[in-house]
């Protein structure tokens, strides 16, 4: 997918690039498996960055629904993510505040 930002990886070798492609594919599968309404809900919250309460009211759901939706999608994604990224203590780890 040319011109599209790729998920940051700890190295630029071919393996990591392929892993990033697999992750994109997995996220696509998860999103396609959701009802259309849930996709629109996620877009409104994360892409449009609209007020959470306003979005929940519009879609007729509560905040717990939103959390569970994200939790299930994350759990499904995590297996693929761990497989592709490898050592979980790689990049982006919070450094301990001193």
């Amino acid at each position: 997918m040319e011109g599209r930002p790729e998920l940051a990886s700890s190295a630029d070798d071919a393996f990591d690039i392929a892993a990033a492609g697999q992750i994109q594919k997995k996220v696509g599968e998860i999103l396609l498996g959701l009802p259309s309404r849930d996709r629109q809900l996620l877009k409104a919250v994360f892409l449009d960055e609209r007020d959470r309460d306003e979005v929940c009211g519009e879609f007729g759901v509560d905040r717990a629904y939103l959390r569970v939706l994200l939790h299930r999608a994350k759990q499904e994604f995590k297996t693929e993510y761990v497989k592709r990224i490898g050592n979980p203590t790689g990049f982006g780890v919070y450094s301990k505040k001193v």
Binding site: L66, K74, Y81
Partner: protein
């Protein structure tokens, strides 16, 4: 905050949804230093959200483009489902159901009842070998029919017959019923008379004939008696 607290509170999800209070956020961030599992959880969630934000606009646009076709398909499927309720088919289906219901609830119980219950029938004495006019007129109705005596010991009867046949002819002279009985024999004192019960449904106005024939052991048939009577239906 420990790991079980973080899981119970869905801390990673609430962090990504920006729902944590400043104090909860600080606790969770402090917990992350000591919990690789929660760290992985948060990173996976963040990676998912990051990629979802890229793909969602296209996916939603694609869904919007295909939605009208899907609605049409559903309408077509609904139409298919409602095919069963089209007037012509529905009429046939209901007529069949009505017929089955009527048979099971009305006709069969009535027949069963009639077969299992004693009933009274008008008994009309007949005279065999009647010649010319002056036949016996019997009034019958469709519900009861008529019972007629048939005498096997007519003047032409013979003890050599092994069996007898009884034929019923309708007003057109057509054979509508026949049966055979074994010869009762004089020596054992068995009755030489039978009762022929004709159900009302078989009867109509007109002249009927009962023919009694003897059947010899070698199969030869010989008429013995002939009863002619007039039926007049009451209904």
């Amino acid at each position: 905050m420990d790991h079980s607290d973080a899981v119970k509170q869905m801390a990673a999800e609430r962090f990504l949804l920006d729902e944590l209070t400043p104090e909860e956020r600080e606790d969770f961030e402090a917990h992350l230093f000591d919990c690789p599992e929660c760290t992985l959880d948060l990173r996976a969630g963040a990676a998912f959200v990051h990629e979802a934000k890229i793909q969602l606009p296209q996916l939603i646009a694609d869904s919007a483009a295909t939605a009208p076709v899907e609605r049409k398909k559903t309408k077509r499927e609904s139409k298919h489902w409602f095919l069963w309720w089209r007037p012509a088919f529905a009429g046939v289906a209901f007529a069949t159901l009505f017929l089955l219901g009527y048979q099971n609830l009305v006709t069969y119980p009535a027949l069963r009842n009639a077969a299992n219950q004693p009933r009274l029938l008008p008994w009309a004495p007949l005279h065999g070998n009647t010649r010319g006019g002056g036949h016996l007129t019997i009034t019958a109705d469709r519900r009861h029919g008529v019972a007629l005596p048939v005498d096997l010991s007519g003047p032409l009867a013979s003890v050599t017959y092994s069996s007898y046949s009884i034929d019923l002819l309708d007003p057109q002279g057509k054979l509508v019923w026949t049966d055979a009985v074994a010869s009762p024999g004089e020596s054992d004192g068995a009755s030489q008379s039978l009762s022929l019960v004709i159900p009302g449904a078989m009867l109509g106005n007109g002249q009927y004939t009962i023919v009694v024939s003897g059947i010899a052991t070698h199969g030869e048939r010989a008429p013995i008696s002939r009863y002619v009577f007039e039926i007049r239906m009451a209904d």
